[in-house]
Amino acid sequence: MCLAIPGRIVEIHGNIAKTDFGEGTTRNVDISLVKAREGDYIIVHAGFAIQILNEKEAKKTIKMFKELFNLPV
């Protein structure tokens, strides 16, 4: 139940988004709980998107820690 998988929205029809989970797997996901757009990466739990993943933030986190340790960014 807490197992979530990320996927990328291909198409939206109302509350339902055709979502690509990689390796040729697509599934319909209910997006009632998020304000998602086509192309967004979403976290999916039991058929429902619970959040849109923010790619910029992911890069920012890594950059922040690399700077902290004086690693080349």
Binding site: M1, C2, L3, A4, P6, R8, N15, G22, D30, S32, L33, V34, K35, Y41, I43, H45, A46, G47, F48, I50, Q51, L53, N54, E55, E57, A58, K60, T61, I62, F65, K66, F69, L71
Partner: protein, 364 residues
Amino acid sequence: MFKFKDSQLASRIIEELRQMHLNIRLMHACGTHQDTLIKSGLNSVFEKLGVEIRQGPGCPICVTPANEIEEAIMLAEHGCTLTIFGDAMRVTGFSKSLYDAKAEGFDIRIVYSITDAVKIAEDNPDKNIVFLAIGFETTAPATASTLINGVPENFYILSSHRYFPPALDALLSLGEIKLDGLIQPGHVSVITGLTPYYELLRKYNIPQVVAGFEPLDMLLAVYSLSNQIVKAEPRVENEYTRAVTEEGNILAKEFMNKVFEPFDVVWRGFPLVKSSGMRLKKEFKDKDARIVFSDILKNVDVQHYEEPKGCRCNEILRGLVDSFDCPLFGKKCTPDHPVGPCMVSIEGNCNINYRYTGGRAVKL
């Protein structure tokens, strides 16, 4: 799919942790965190660095007590069509599991999501379809939005949903185990945001970091916690900023608040946990299986239940021990023949540890 990886950063953090000469115990509360720890071998890396990590009550099926499974079995035995997540099939109620009840011929169907259960109700208007709704804040909003968007008349919810943060509060207030910090569950936090953790900080002054599920996430989380611990500066930090915001998923919370209200409920392994149960509000009482089928459910007698002999799930859920400490692990108890719920659910500590160690009673 974008990746959250950086091997240079990962090695550097391990080095930093080594230089801290740690001797600490942390708790995470999520099956997916345990999965990452064991699958990547990070748990043994952390052990060598003086960081012990226990899995707490973060497995919704494991913490659902036997009486709630028994309620589901009773409804199936009295003619309802029961729809459940597959992961719950082998958990036993008072004497048998839903799997056993299905084998006896009762109508129990596995669904991937509540949407599938609603579809079954639409296709079978002459039957009563009950959805056993298990899960924390991660799944409860889906149940709530489904009810708000409208369901067929013959569709009912048996709510075993629970608010997660009150369980951590209960665990910390029991004070049975010394914990130096908490790795907060990424996906519960996606919904709740950080507010509940500030409350825990105020009450228990315990370091906390919300973490994602890649090995690098766990390394960053452990590094941040270790820093807080070493400097004695407990805070709430958010490492999983790509998914978790300060305020959480407001829309999902609104759905939950419209449909559910908190009440005191028992968790497996815990005494009554205050305001942790999610009960359907009055407006939805004609969808609440506990009200609609109260005549059937009043016969569920909690008094006569005993936990399986020798099973240490209760202590595992409170973080007191690990599955490797259970003498039945990998011997009498395996995923094919589970003794307790922690071996049934794919989010359970015993199940995860078994899957990656082949049931050896040793840590990897």
